[in-house]
C-alpha cells in the first residue's frame, strides 16, 4: 500500500512534466519541412532572459517585420511563422532548443540565432542534417570561412568539415578590428594602446585581427586585458585601471554591453581622479555601440563624448526623417508591444538590426523559387544582391548586402561614427538632446 502510493506520487510528477513537454506539438508536412501551401515556419534561439537579454529586441523586431510582410500577403502567398526560443546565451540550452526547432517544430530553417558559442554548438548538427543556419546574429569570422566545399575547402581547428548550410549576415569582427587599427595609426601620433577584450572566441577574434592589422606597430600595444563575460562591473573596472596604469593613451574596447558600460564609466572616473592626465582616445566595438547602451553609460556617470565606433545600419534617433525609419516605427508600433515601442523611442538600434536582417531573409525567400526548398534558400542566400532598386532599406546608406561564390560575408562595409552629446545622465524619453552618434568620414570597406 505505502509502496504503491510512493510510486504513484513520483510517477505522477514525471507524467505531469512529460505531458507538459509533449504539449509542444509538432506539425508534420510533405515536401520541404516547415513549408506548406500557405505558410513557412522558421525558428531561432535568442537570449530572452539572463545577462545577454539586452539582445532580445532583435528577435522582437524580426517577428515584427515578418508580421508586416504577412499583413501584406506574405511571400508567394505564404505567411512566415517565426518561432523564437530562449536559450539564455547558454550553448547547452541552444543545442536542445535547436533540436526542438528541427525535430519537433519541423522548421524550414534556423534564422538569426544569436551568439558565437551558441552558433558553434549547433552548426555541426545543423550541417549534418542539412538545415539552413542562416543570418546568424554574430560577426565572427567562423560564419564565412568554412563554407567552401570540395577541394576549395581548407580545414580549420574549429571546422574539420565544410559548413555549407551556415551563413552570417553582419560585417565580420576581424574586418571591424582592422579598421580600428588603421584609424588609430592615422589619427594618434604616438599611440599607447590599451585593449579590453572579452575572454572568449568573440573577444579573441577581434584581438587577433587587431594585432595583425597593426603590423609593425604591435609594439604600440602597452597592455591587453581579458575579462570574462560573467565578470562583475568591479572586475571590469579593475582591468581598465590596469590599462591606465600601463600608460595607455588609447583604449580599445572589444566587449559586450554590460562590460563596455562599466569600462566607459571607469575611464571617466580615472580621468577625473587624475585631473585629465588620463584622457584616452576611446574606440568601442559596434556590438556595444547601440545608442541605448551609451545612454546607460551616461547614466552611470560616464562622459562618452568623442567615443569612436562604427555602424552598418541606420539609426532611428539620428535620422528619424529617413523613410525607412518612418516605416520601421510603423512596423514596431503595429506589434502593439509596449516594450518594443519604448525601446524604439529610446533609440535601441538592435531593433533596426532585426528589421534589416529579416528584410534580407524575406529577400532571399523571394528569390528561392515559387516553392522554396532548403537548398534553393541557400542558393538564394549565396547570391544575394541587395543593391540598386533592391537595396535593403534598413542598412546604412551606400552599403551593399551582397554574396557570391567569392564573397561569403553579406556585409563588408562599415561607417565610422563619433558620439556627441551631453556629459551627464539623460533620460531619452523626457529630454530631447541626450546625445547620439555622428557620422565620421565615409563608408569604408572592411572586407579582407
Amino acid at each position: 500500500m505505502s509502496i504503491n502510493r510512493k510510486k504513484l506520487g513520483a510517477l505522477l510528477g514525471v507524467v505531469a512534466i512529460g505531458i507538459a513537454v509533449a504539449s509542444t506539438a509538432g506539425a508534420a508536412s510533405q515536401g520541404s519541412p516547415g513549408v506548406t501551401k500557405n505558410s513557412i515556419t522558421i525558428g531561432g534561439t535568442f537570449p530572452l532572459s539572463g545577462p545577454a537579454s539586452l539582445y532580445a529586441t532583435i528577435a522582437g523586431a524580426e517577428q515584427a517585420y515578418y508580421g508586416y510582410v504577412n499583413a501584406h500577403g506574405g511571400v508567394n502567398g505564404r505567411k512566415i511563422n517565426d518561432i523564437v526560443l530562449d536559450d539564455q546565451y547558454n550553448p547547452s540550452k541552444t543545442i536542445v532548443k535547436v533540436k526542438q526547432l528541427v525535430e519537433n517544430d519541423h522548421v524550414f530553417a534556423v534564422v538569426g540565432g544569436l551568439g558565437t558559442a551558441p552558433g558553434l554548438a549547433t552548426w555541426n548538427y545543423l550541417n549534418n542534417k542539412g538545415v539552413p543556419q542562416v543570418l546568424l546574429a554574430t560577426g565572427d569570422a567562423y560564419w564565412g570561412t568554412c563554407t567552401a566545399t570540395g577541394s576549395a575547402f581548407t580545414p580549420k581547428p574549429y571546422c574539420s568539415k565544410p559548413k555549407p548550410w551556415t551563413m552570417g549576415w553582419q560585417p565580420d569582427y576581424p574586418g571591424e578590428a582592422k579598421l580600428y587599427a588603421k584609424y588609430i595609426l592615422t589619427n594618434k601620433k604616438t599611440p599607447h594602446i590599451g585593449i579590453l577584450y572579452q575572454n572568449d572566441a568573440y573577444g579573441q577574434n577581434y584581438l587577433d585581427a587587431f594585432n595583425k592589422a597593426l603590423g609593425s606597430h604591435t609594439g604600440d600595444v602597452v597592455d591587453a586585458e581579458p575579462y570574462n563575460f560573467t565578470d562583475s562591473s568591479t572586475v571590469v573596472s579593475a582591468h581598465v585601471q590596469a590599462l591606465a596604469a600601463h600608460g595607455a593613451n588609447t583604449v580599445v574596447i572589444f566587449a559586450t554591453p554590460a562590460a563596455s558600460i562599466a569600462a566607459l564609466a571607469t575611464i571617466t572616473g580615472i580621468k577625473a581622479a587624475t585631473h585629465g592626465a588620463f584622457s584616452p582616445l576611446t574606440l568601442l566595438n559596434n556590438v556595444s555601440a547601440n545608442r541605448v547602451f551609451l545612454i546607460a553609460a551616461q547614466g552611470a556617470h560616464a562622459n562618452v563624448n568623442n567615443v569612436v565606433s562604427t555602424t552598418y545600419i541606420k539609426s532611428q534617433s539620428a535620422t528619424p526623417k529617413d523613410s525607412a525609419m518612418i516605416l520601421a516605427k510603423k512596423i514596431i508600433n503595429a506589434t502593439g508591444n509596449a516594450g518594443l515601442q519604448q525601446q524604439f523611442a529610446a533609440g535601441d538600434n538592435n531593433l533596426i538590426y532585426g528589421l534589416a536582417s529579416a528584410w534580407t531573409f524575406v529577400d532571399a525567400l523571394k528569390h528561392a523559387g515559387a516553392t522554396p526548398t532548403r537548398s534553393s534558400l541557400m542558393k538564394a542566400l549565396r547570391n544575394l544582391n541587395e543593391t540598386g532598386a533592391n537595396r535593403n532599406p534598413f542598412v546604412f546608406p551606400g552599403m551593399d548586402v551582397k554574396t557570391s561564390s567569392t564573397r561569403t560575408f553579406p556585409m563588408e562595409q562599415l561607417q565610422f561614427e563619433q558620439w556627441k552629446g551631453q556629459t551627464n545622465a539623460c533620460n531619452p524619453n523626457t529630454e530631447v538632446n541626450c546625445g547620439d552618434w555622428r557620422k565620421l568620414g565615409v563608408v569604408l570597406n572592411s572586407g579582407s
Binding site: S2, A10, S49, G50, P91, I95, L120, Q204
Partner: protein, 327 residues
C-alpha cells in the same frame, strides 16, 4: 532506507518501460528522455554524497565538465570509441574526486558546500586558460555525432549499470558506514567507522558518476563541449535534482532526473514554468519547499503525508521521518 521498494518488482518494471519508450516516442521526445537518463546518472551519483553521506556539494557540475571534456578531447584527438571515453571519464573523475575529497574531508556542512562552489566556478575556467588543448571558449567538437536513439540507449544503459553498481556498493558495509557518517559523525567514530576514508570514498564515487554523466551530456550535445555548458547553474540544477530525489530510492532519483532534465524544455505556452524567468522562480521556491517541508525530498512526500494524517486522525505524535537529518 528500510522501506525500499521490492527491487524484484520495480527495477524490471522501470527497465521494461525504458526499453519500450523509444518505440513509442518521437525522435525529439526520445532525445528528451535521453537527457533525463544523463541527469539520472548525475543525480544518482550526487545522491550517494548528499543523501547517503549527508555532505552537500554545489560543485558537481565541475565533474561533469571534466568528464565531458574527456570525451570531447579523446574523440577529437584520437577518435576513441565514445563508450570507451565514458569509462575513462568515470575513472578520471573518480581519481579527481578522491583527491578533492582528501582536503574536503576536513570540512563539512556549509564549509564543504563553499569549497565545492569554488570547484564549480574554477573548473570551467580551465579550458579558457589552456585554450590550445581545450579549445578555449570556441569549445571542443568531437567529429562523431550520434542519433537520438543511440544517445538514449547509451544514457539508459549507463544508468542501468551504474544503478546496479550503486546498489551493490550501498547495500553492504560501505553503505552502512556512509549512513553512519550522515546520522552522527561522533557515533560513527565510536563504532569504528573511519570518517575520513568514507567521506573521501563517497566524494570519489559521486564524482565518478557525474563524470560519466558529463561524458553522456557531451555526447547528447552532438559531441560539443564548451565552458558555458558547465556553469554554476548546472551544479545547482544537480543539487535541485538531488533535493527532489531526497533519500535515493529509484523512484526518487527518477523524479529528480526528470525534474531537471525535462523542466527546462517545457513548452513556452505553459503558463509560468514555460518561461525561463518563471522557471527560475519555481526552482527556487521548490528547493526551499523541499528543504523545509520535505527533508526526505519529493520521494518522501507520501510518507510525510501519511505521518501528517496519522497525526490528525489519532492526535498522536507524528512519526519521525526517515532521512530528515543531514546535519
Amino acid at each position: 532506507m528500510r522501506r525500499r521498494l521490492p527491487a524484484v518488482v520495480s527495477v524490471p518494471g522501470v527497465a521494461g518501460v525504458l526499453v519500450v519508450l523509444p518505440f513509442i516516442l518521437s525522435s525529439y521526445h526520445t532525445f528528451l528522455a535521453a537527457e533525463v537518463g544523463v541527469f539520472f546518472v548525475a543525480v544518482l551519483g550526487l545522491n550517494i554524497l548528499t543523501g547517503y553521506t549527508g555532505q552537500i556539494s554545489i560543485g558537481h557540475g565541475a565533474f561533469m565538465a571534466i568528464g565531458g571534456y574527456t570525451t570531447a578531447v579523446m574523440s577529437r584527438d584520437h577518435h576513441t570509441n565514445l563508450i570507451l571515453t565514458i569509462l575513462v571519464a568515470f575513472a578520471i573523475c573518480f581519481v579527481v574526486g578522491l583527491l578533492f575529497g582528501l582536503p574536503a574531508l576536513r570540512l563539512s556542512g556549509a564549509y564543504l558546500a563553499l569549497a565545492t562552489f569554488a570547484l564549480a566556478i574554477s573548473v570551467p575556467q580551465l579550458p579558457l586558460q589552456w585554450s590550445r588543448y581545450l579549445g578555449g571558449s570556441g569549445g571542443v567538437q568531437s567529429p562523431e555525432t550520434k542519433g537520438n536513439v543511440w544517445i538514449y540507449g547509451a544514457a539508459w544503459s549507463v544508468s542501468a549499470v551504474l544503478f546496479l553498481l550503486a546498489w551493490l556498493i550501498l547495500r553492504g558495509r560501505v553503505g552502512r558506514a556512509f549512513r553512519a557518517v550522515r546520522d552522527s559523525e561522533i557515533a560513527a567514530v565510536a563504532s569504528g567507522v573511519e570518517i575520513g576514508v568514507y567521506k573521501t570514498l563517497a566524494f570519489g564515487i559521486s564524482a565518478a558518476y557525474c563524470g560519466a554523466a558529463g561524458a553522456l551530456f557531451v555526447i547528447a550535445s552532438n559531441g560539443f563541449a564548451q565552458p558555458d555548458q558547465f556553469n554554476v547553474a548546472l551544479s545547482l540544477q544537480l543539487l535541485i535534482g538531488a533535493a527532489v530525489a531526497g533519500l535515493g530510492s529509484l523512484w526518487g532519483i527518477l523524479a529528480g532526473a526528470a525534474f531537471v532534465g525535462l523542466l527546462p524544455n517545457i513548452s513556452p505556452s505553459v503558463p509560468i514554468i514555460g518561461s525561463e524567468q518563471g522557471r527560475d522562480v519555481v526552482y527556487g521556491l521548490l528547493v526551499v519547499l523541499v528543504m523545509l517541508v520535505l527533508p526526505g525530498g519529493l520521494a518522501g512526500l507520501p510518507a510525510r503525508l501519511r505521518s501528517l494524517r496519522r497525526g490528525l486522525n489519532r492526535k498522536s505524535k507524528p512519526v519521525k521521518l526517515r532521512g530528515s537529518s543531514s546535519q
